[in-house]
Symmetry: C2
Subunit: 486 residues, 2 copies
């Protein structure tokens, strides 16, 4: 380690790290700020000035390995590459923790309208879907506006038919529209099968209008997905609805050679920046290395891994360590459900299981998994939401456009959720998701969708906040704190 | 025919068509305008107020028939539907003129990188491409920045290899970027084959960054396309260039089951609005009914056919006929080249051949085939470019954003080109093509890409200009006119 290496050298932080030098930053002089806050501001400004590591990371990850489906060789090779890179960046305790997995592979698939006219459709089998018969299957399509309408259909009413849920995802800046449609993806196949349907199709859970279907996992019920299940691209769903409005009976042919590989494995990559006088206390930050198979997982979640690695590396290059340990975890197998519980976040469950004894000393956790568009709000654990720590965070982050979150707590990230459920406090850096669900889980999730300036802003916010938390002695655990306001 | 039916009734044109009533329009009172110009302004305003026919036409065409490749049943069914619709709209002399065709069908196709890592690629075989061997073909990829670089490669230097041209299309408002890259599509396979290549791939001739390849025809040389030829989606081309920049040898596997159907046929649909005292003189307006097979041909060229039909229908609903005949031609087989000359515009050649004797009395022709974004300029035949007729056209069209074209003449449309070459004068209504080549020839060419307000503006400009030309006695033929300035 060269104490003055890296982007921070240019800010003269090496010479003044323990002094009281006034440093002008975007938000004006903060000469009176404590040393820790001044360093946080410098981390922020170094990242905002442009920091190649994050972009280079996601570029190399997505280019070398392409799609990284859970349990694939590609996911494993990406994990090996990531571990080697983390070692070369100077992190400690770098290792890979493998876990068994039942992998799902898409194989090939296609769909056509067979009535009223023959037209090709763009579809993607939902993760976990069983294959169709080798010759495909065909049936009349019954369109339901919402999952609730499908649920209201009587048993047997869909015998021999294909159930379609046509609900559109609403575009919002916080991604709330996703939650409103993803239940159809999770529950639709089971609900349709109970009513006799031979297959389930849905309008994609996505906000774009491209001929690219949005993949995504469905739910196993009693260890299986009952019937073949597909997402249609949104223009294809439009076309089917227009044909139905013309009074046509719609018939569809579906084919999928999806398969299960029960003996696969995935892995988490772990790397530490060991802390100073409180090195047994861990601030955990992560993203996931696996991706859906259609794109190359640039925004889901190549950039998430890039943001946390680059933020940790900026802290690593400081002339002094933070008091607490910063741990980077690059999770495996976030995307695809498992036939047996726990059904999601397999990498996250593996981490929580493997590190159960340590979780009591995990003081804070955060995950970056909503693309790389700008961060606009921060939510801290309820205990500190009105504290000097929170005020320091806002003093550092508000100049780059980060406000207090309107809500104090929500799901902090699929992979860290098992740790959070075990009591680890979490923060959320809310990203602008206005455009995220145009690309999410499609073949379009490729490097060109990454905006470097917004990526830099993410790194800036993560580096500053993680530094402040790791360099503090603040207790984030709720204990006697008042319940969060909803 | 009900004299006061349709959108124009609301403008009281029925009561005043032969009078001198002052009618307020968007551009202010034009009480002093001659009757013909006043009617043109009313046609314009009726269209701008919103006219359902154009949108309904392209909606029904693309929904009922989906993709309409040249020579397909779908193209034929669309032509039959269009002829029936034109009859029901009150047009005369409605008929279908068939012509023989060698059709090309895509079949199935796919591509993968096999080195340095296995990754799926999004490709589309170029129109006219022969199939690969049944087991596909594989080879090392040699990347050339431009067609000229491929042309500079020595004979034999690509033996057993796959040639790739990586040139990017430049986005411009007039579509000029397309011309700069389409030569690679036309000539690339032949140039590559001459140097020993086993296949040709190119970055798509398109300006988007979606995982959708842009189809398009390549050129037959001596009646054949020498080697299998494909377009890569633009993000895939980026990925290959990045892998090459990492120092990797790139290998690719390509498969296509493309086939030729020599005994096919296509057809033009013709419909007249017979003129008054000069009904032997024809103003020809058209678009093409065929489309590429990947999308549903909404903007290429469903909207072109919709614009000319809706414009003619507005004129048809006037209380008096124009002096000259307005002829709508919906051409077949614009998209795909033929193995024997004439290699392009097969519908356009068939029309010019079938109507050779009439072409001398075709006074003017125009084609709408660049999507449905707004018209921003008009070019008239050189003889009238500085005339009272041109000034009247601009008085009517400038209020809806149409300026004189910076150049007096360029290719007026693939389908009308054979007629233009036989001496028929042409006009061009220039459309904003800034976004057209994001979608052109891809699976994304679907109805949702049509902007109704801009479609209405197209109908407005076409209706007004076609009316003015058809209701005039102006001689548009160049004869003694000065040569156009370049």
């Amino acid at each position: 380690m060269t104490a003055c290496a890296g982007a921070l050298a240019a800010l003269s932080i090496c010479a003044t790290a323990t002094g009281a030098t006034t440093v002008a930053v975007a938000s004006g002089p903060i000469a009176s700020a404590p040393d820790s806050e001044r360093i946080a501001a410098q981390l922020r400004d170094a990242a905002m000035a442009g920091h190649d590591l994050a972009y280079d990371w996601v570029s190399e990850l997505t280019t070398r390995f392409g799609p990284r489906p859970a349990g694939s060789d590609s996911e494993q090779h990406a994990a090996e590459w990531a571990a080697a890179r983390l070692k070369s960046l100077g992190f400690e305790n770098v290792h890979i923790e493998s876990f068994p997995l039942s992998a799902w592979v898409r194989g090939t698939g296609n769909a056509q309208l067979t009535a009223p006219t023959a037209q090709s459709l763009t579809v993607a089998a939902l993760g976990g879907s069983p294959p169709t018969p080798a010759g495909g299957l065909e049936g009349e399509v019954v369109i339901f506006p919402m999952l609730a309408d499908l649920q209201a259909a009587p048993p047997g009413s869909l015998a021999g038919r294909i159930a379609m849920v046509a609900q559109r995802m609403v575009r919002t800046d916080d991604g709330a529209g996703y939650g409103a449609v993803v239940s159809a993806r999770a529950e639709g196949p089971d609900v349709a099968a109970q009513r006799g349907a031979i297959a389930f199709v849905m309008r994609s859970a996505g906000t774009d209008n491209h001929r690219l279907a949005h993949a995504g996992t469905t739910r196993y019920v009693n260890g299986r997905v009952a019937i073949p299940a597909f997402a249609l691209s949104n223009p294809d769903a439009d076309q089917i609805e227009r044909l139905a409005a013309l009074g046509s009976v719609i018939r569809m042919r579906l084919f999928s050679s999806a398969a299960y590989i029960p003996g696969a494995h995935s892995q988490n990559v772990i790397a530490d920046l060991r802390g100073g006088d409180r090195s047994d206390q861990v601030v955990l930050i992560g993203g996931h290395l696996d991706s859906w198979d259609l794109g190359t997982g640039a925004i889901d979640d190549g950039t998430g891994t890039a943001i946390v690695v680059a933020a940790a590396k900026l802290i690593r290059d400081l002339p002094r360590r933070p008091r607490r340990t910063v741990r980077v975890v690059l999770f495996g197998s976030e995307e695809v459900a498992q036939p047996v519980p726990p059904s999601g976040a397999f990498g996250g469950h593996s981490y929580a299981d493997n590190h159960r004894a340590e979780l009591a000393s995990h003081v804070l956790a955060g995950e970056s998994d909503l693309g790389s568009d700008r961060i606009y709000a921060v939510a801290l654990p309820a205990r500190v939401s009105d504290s000097e720590f929170a005020r320091a965070v806002l003093r550092v982050l508000t100049p780059i456009g980060v406000l207090p979150a309107p809500r104090s707590r929500e799901e902090a990230g699929t992979d860290i959720e098992p740790s959070v459920e075990a009591g680890v406090p979490a923060f959320v850096l809310f990203q602008d998701a206005t455009h995220y669900f145009d690309i999410h889980h499609t073949a379009d999730d490729t490097l060109d969708k990454v905006d470097r300036a917004q990526l830099d802003q993410n790194v800036a916010a993560w580096a500053a906040l993680v530094w402040l938390a790791a360099d503090s002695a603040v207790d984030f655990r709720a204990s006697a704190a008042p319940a969060p306001q909803s």
